[in-house]
């Protein structure tokens, strides 16, 4: 029972981290129709910038400055890169962001090298916040939870309660009408892209010390972010949140408990073959849940695409 609670907290941390990445991506996608392949690269940039800043000014200044730098960089990419490519259609845009992801990885390797960076948790938060049946919950995790929740609430407030949010939401569905009403839609796009990448930057800043800062970190997280927004429904902030938490909990629980395929299959009524060594389905019989934990979100995505193509909270038919 205690372990369930601990796993719930761990899954929440993973999920909220994923949410910060997917929130920006889902907004960008729904607004501009661009699948931003470089989104996870901005997450990586956030971690590296924060590491560099923390060397001189400490962790907290890194948390403050790095996302802003990443956001400005994102806005510049939109203004001088994506906007020019936009007129040629979606495929060139896709290729542009894909190339950008590769470019950023190479630049990061060029500047910081290929090693792991010693970017670590600030001293103030380096203690055990609470302990549940011998399982320590580090204070840094609690900090991660609060930061992500604060960002979600702020984002929700801006999008639904402020004038800027109204314009963004309107531009999501009727960009031409909004433009006709005298709003500067390209500026809105640039802003959304900037804020989206800044969010990815924040995720990088706070995830860097725990998930380690190295040039492959974008790659490791890249694909799962797309899965999240597809499951959640494109353009839906709530969808991104629910899908992120779902993925966080599914993977955490699948890893935490050794559920064996053998037990499931015999449970349904199949009989276990006596000699497995040469059996055709040997691999299926010997699978355990931790081995396939990281594939489960993809499985979920396929199911969602089959039964609810517009995602859990999506409004439009894909």
């Amino acid at each position: 029972m205690d372990l369930i609670l601990v796993n719930l907290i761990d899954g929440l941390v993973t999920g909220l981290l994923l949410f910060m990445l997917s929130a920006g991506l889902t907004l960008i996608f729904s607004m501009m129709g661009v699948l931003n392949f470089a989104h996870a690269s901005f997450y990586m940039l956030g971690a590296y910038f924060a590491y560099q800043i923390s060397m001189f000014l400490g962790f907290w200044m890194g948390l403050l400055i790095a996302p802003i730098v990443v956001g400005v960089l994102g806005a510049l990419v939109e203004r001088y890169g994506l906007r020019r490519v936009h007129q040629y259609g979606h495929v060139p845009e896709l290729i542009f962001t894909f190339g950008l992801a590769l470019l950023i990885e190479e630049i990061v390797q060029f500047i910081w090298g290929k090693d792991q960076m010693p970017y670590s948790i600030p001293e103030v938060l380096n203690f055990t916040a609470l302990s549940i049946a011998g399982n320590a919950i580090p204070a840094y995790k609690v900090f991660m939870i609060f930061t992500s929740v604060a960002i979600f609430i702020a984002l929700l407030y801006v999008l639904t309660r402020t004038r800027v949010g109204m314009i963004i939401q309107a531009a999501l569905s009727y960009p031409r009408t909004v433009e006709a009403l005298g709003h500067n839609v390209p500026l809105v796009f640039m802003g959304v892209f900037g804020v989206g990448t800044a969010l990815a930057g924040v995720a990088g800043v706070i995830a860097g010390p725990v998930l380690s800062t190295f040039p492959g970190m974008a790659l490791v997280l890249g694909s799962i972010v797309f899965v999240t927004i597809v499951i959640g429904g494109l353009g839906s902030l709530w969808g991104a949140l629910v899908a992120s938490l779902l993925i966080g909990w599914i993977t955490t629980f699948a890893k935490a408990y050794n559920i064996r395929m053998e037990d499931i299959l015999t449970g349904i009524g199949f009989e276990k073959p006596v000699d497995l060594s040469e059996h055709m389905l040997r691999d299926l019989w010997t699978i355990t849940s931790p081995q396939i934990a990281d594939i489960l979100p993809y499985l979920l995505m396929v199911l969602i695409l089959v039964f609810r193509p517009y995602g859990l909270f999506g409004k439009r038919d894909a």
Partner: protein, 414 residues
């Protein structure tokens, strides 16, 4: 008609090769390892050590034979067996006859198989494979070939040395084994289970688990299982970012016992562990860095660190691979006749710069050498890793580990 043409071509080829060597052409060595992706840091550090060893041990001494220099040619395989085979073909097409690779036994299996086939089909341009870190025991047992030489101790030999230490540590009563889900991770787990049962039947193995290699973002759930299992010690063969993330996560979530590792040093891992790894991380490896084995070893490390301020000598066996290859080429009198070079390598004794004598066992091409178990610490460190002040200090030494370990290797010699 066919045969004379072939013979004629062969003669022309032999002439051109002869002419080439007269002009002291470089001996090219293909370095096939990850230079991008999650394991890039491990691969690129290995490359630096190879380039330095080739310069220092061979080229500065005037090369081998009539002044031929060693040249390391890097190929990025992204730790993918498929990509490695493509790179191997490119290397062979460039006329390269020596291949070095180490990261991932999965890749090593693919390479031995491909090289075996290639050498059978192309007796005129055979290739030798010097494996410096892929330690799946099968490579020098059931799957051994004449063309493969291993310079690191295999997983069984390392585990043998490691369990000797655990045997002397009575406070360890429960052990958790965790590794990457591929041939090497499975080999480590199997060896640990077998040897612990032999040496310490009272030890309970409270967990034995594999996780996907290079794909786990967050090791927290695994760390929870380890902590709640009540384990006194953890054994893992993990390497690269999988090692760092597992170790950090286990320490952060409240584990205080020793974590016995194969690869938790260098490539940024030591710096990233820092204070948190002190008293926890143990490393089983060959080559003694702290305290330095000799003045020559210290001078070598100093020269390396002067040239690559960010680099580490974290795979000291690379000096053996390069040094022994040079000796073998000298003994064979030819760099192109790889069969003679391989025969010269068999049974060779060599003075390891970082420990005593090493011996290339002819039956299975496994290098027999001293093994060291060290601790991650900042005390008594002459040469740190990652400029962090932390390094590995030797605690135990096992001389000529696995000298009479059994092998099932039945190699076909040309």
């Amino acid at each position: 008609m066919r045969k004379p043409i072939k013979l004629g071509l062969g003669a022309v080829l032999a002439l051109t090769i002869g002419a080439g060597s007269a002009m002291a052409e470089n001996i090219k060595i293909a370095f096939i390892d990850p230079l991008s992706g999650p394991f890039a840091s491990t691969g690129s550090n290995g490359l630096k050590q190879y380039q330095f060893a080739a310069d220092e041990l061979v080229n500065k001494k005037g090369g081998v034979l009539d002044g031929q220099m060693f040249e390391i040619v890097p190929f990025d395989n992204k730790v993918s067996p498929k990509e490695s085979l493509i790179q191997l073909q490119v290397a062979i097409d460039q006329g390269i006859r020596y291949v070095v690779q180490g990261n991932s036994s999965g890749v090593a299996h693919a390479l031995t198989e491909a090289i075996e086939k290639h050498n059978k089909r192309n007796p005129d341009d055979r290739v030798l494979y010097l494996n410096y870190a892929a330690v799946d025991p099968a490579l020098t047992n059931d799957d051994c070939t004449f063309w493969h030489f291993r310079f690191d101790a295999n997983a069984d030999i390392k585990m043998d040395a490691l369990t000797d230490v655990i045997k002397e540590t009575p406070e360890i009563k429960k052990v958790y084994i965790i590794g990457q889900d591929y041939s090497f991770g499975k080999a480590v787990a199997a060896a640990a289970v077998r040897m612990l049962a032999e040496k310490r039947p009272d030890i309970e193995i409270v967990g034995n688990e594999l996780h996907p290699i290079g794909k786990v973002k967050d090791f927290t759930p695994y760390a929870r299982k380890i902590v709640s299992s009540g384990a006194d010690a953890v054994i893992t063969g993990n390497w690269g970012s999988d090692m760092l993330n597992l170790g950090k996560s286990v320490v952060e979530n409240g584990f205080t016992g020793p974590i016995y590792t194969y690869y938790a040093a260098g490539s940024g891992i030591t710096a990233a562990f820092g204070e948190s790894g002190k008293g926890v991380i143990r490393l089983i490896s060959q080559g003694q860095i702290n305290p330095p084995e000799s003045d020559a070893a210290a001078a070598y490390i100093e020269a390396f660190e002067a040239k690559y301020p960010d680099g580490n000598i974290d795979q000291p066996r690379i000096t053996n691979a390069i040094g022994m290859l040079a000796e073998a080429i000298k003994e064979a009198g030819s760099a192109t006749d790889v069969v003679s070079v391989a025969k010269a390598l068999e049974g060779m004794e060599y003075d390891d710069l970082f420990s005593g004598k090493v011996y290339m066992r002819p039956q299975d091409h496994q290098l027999i050498q001293d093994m060291f178990i060290g601790a991650h610490t900042d005390e008594g460190v002459t040469f740190d890793y990652d400029n962090s002040g932390y390094g590995i200090v030797v605690e135990h030494k096992v001389e000529m580990a696995g000298m009479d370990s059994p092998t099932t290797c039945k190699m076909k010699r040309p």
